[in-house]
Symmetry: C2
Subunit: 326 residues, 2 copies
Amino acid sequence: MAVYTEVSDVELEAFLADYGLGRLLSYKGIAEGVENSNFLLHVEAGLFILTLYEKRVAASDLPFFLTLMEHLAARGLPCPQPVKTQNGVTLGKLAGRPAAIVTFLEGVSSRRPSPPQCAALGLALGQLHRAGADFDLVRPNALSLESWPSLFGTAKERAREVQAGLASFIADELAFLAIAWPRDLPRGTIHADLFPDNVLFLGDEVSGLIDFYFACTDFLAYDLAVCLNSWCFEPDLSFNVTKGMALIDSYQRMRKLTKAEIEALPVLARGSALRFALTRLVDWLNVPPGALVKPKDPLDYIKRLRFHQRCKSARDLGLRDPGREL
Amino acid sequence: MAVYTEVSDVELEAFLADYGLGRLLSYKGIAEGVENSNFLLHVEAGLFILTLYEKRVAASDLPFFLTLMEHLAARGLPCPQPVKTQNGVTLGKLAGRPAAIVTFLEGVSSRRPSPPQCAALGLALGQLHRAGADFDLVRPNALSLESWPSLFGTAKERAREVQAGLASFIADELAFLAIAWPRDLPRGTIHADLFPDNVLFLGDEVSGLIDFYFACTDFLAYDLAVCLNSWCFEPDLSFNVTKGMALIDSYQRMRKLTKAEIEALPVLARGSALRFALTRLVDWLNVPPGALVKPKDPLDYIKRLRFHQRCKSARDLGLRDPGREL
């Protein structure tokens, strides 16, 4: 659920006066994204998304996100394209919040992605990494290795409320990752949160990649690890290697993984599972009274992590012929 | 906020297969209505609203609401029109809930209605009462005089948490209304909740009347009293008699008030103010943990009630030449 800020008709009409989008026909607050307030706008020019950026998103990061979407859309990626005012500006202010309008993308998120949808995602992810290769802006990944110990620190004392022994399990994993985490893999602009919610399909074709508000500069293969975690586990949290294979194979059709990336993939998958387990754990333990968001179970990602701990190589994740270039 | 039930792409596509609306292009949960889950559907046939009826709406009342919307839409009222499946059915089941699809109406709710908008509302309300005159189904008003004492009973003990002396103030008002409430006024089908949220405008023209889920059979003039309360007070809760005049005058262009209705209007306004104060009070005192809805301040309606207690006649509400037919 995400309408934290209400917008009045009068404020919105004043805001829209700077854009050449015609008359306001309707707007509805929509339950999309968890960090920002989003509205589906219908104006004479068509459908658009209006986003008001709430406190959890740093205002200083907004130019990175908006410029990235422009960059990717210009290279044919099906991602929302920021709309400019008649003065050429993409970031404005509405109801006391930074605000932007982006194009609306048709399509439906898959609640339970099929193998062909995992394959389509792999292609789209590879395209995203290729299209981002000449993107100049840099944003460090605020939710990578360095941040995990302090994130854990805020939840450590109460982790046992979630599961007995959880704190020492996480502490051990942090110690392992501090040593095993790769130092030198191909870097670039990654989405970093490409869950099924953030990918729109028409049939088995990807029609939209959305919600770029965790995008950053990091290992490209880490993005693939995030997708393996969020797309290839079944509801019972067993790993579906057919889906993993579809995802990795298609990704490699757009961008071949290096030998170092293939070797690192199981560790990246562990790190990615821990990253989402940690943020979910913190949210789970800190539900504010009157919260509009139902927190997600951190144990879903702990279970994924336990799977990855047992993996011997990227082959267990669906890579064919690991160690050999395809 | 109102998406209590999540709907998966697969479930929705199966549900839509019974309708002749073409391919599903997108759907977004929207923050509209407080009783039900609502989604804005985009299918090849255009935009529609999908509603899943949650527990607070009695399933046995749904045929009344859906048939009423069909009846009014057929008479030219700009209200949502239930869409039939290919078998001619308007009420189905989705995600374990009764569900229906209705047409989407363009327009924007006015956060602070202007006098011309109050005038347009008056016309629309009069049209609604005329169009409902030959509607055969009957649904008693579950939130009228008879229900108020028991509603108050559930909140009485804790009313002082909201304001000192509130319980005895309400008890006195209930005693007054039990005697003063009219017994015999023109009855018909009323909306009963025609707040600014539920009226869509394009400019100063009414483009939509929505959310018929409190509609019932009651005094027609009570509907006017609900609108006087919800449309004609300023944010500081002073009554704007210009708005009241615009509303009543326009209403009478469609349907003249009888002498008895005019005499009863101040009492109906008191009762309507108390009805919303009571439901808000109950909601205020019973916010469930993790609630998705921020409760509204019951005192806003207590202040309206205090204004009406000081009114001498319908003239104070904007009626011109009270007691004389226009």
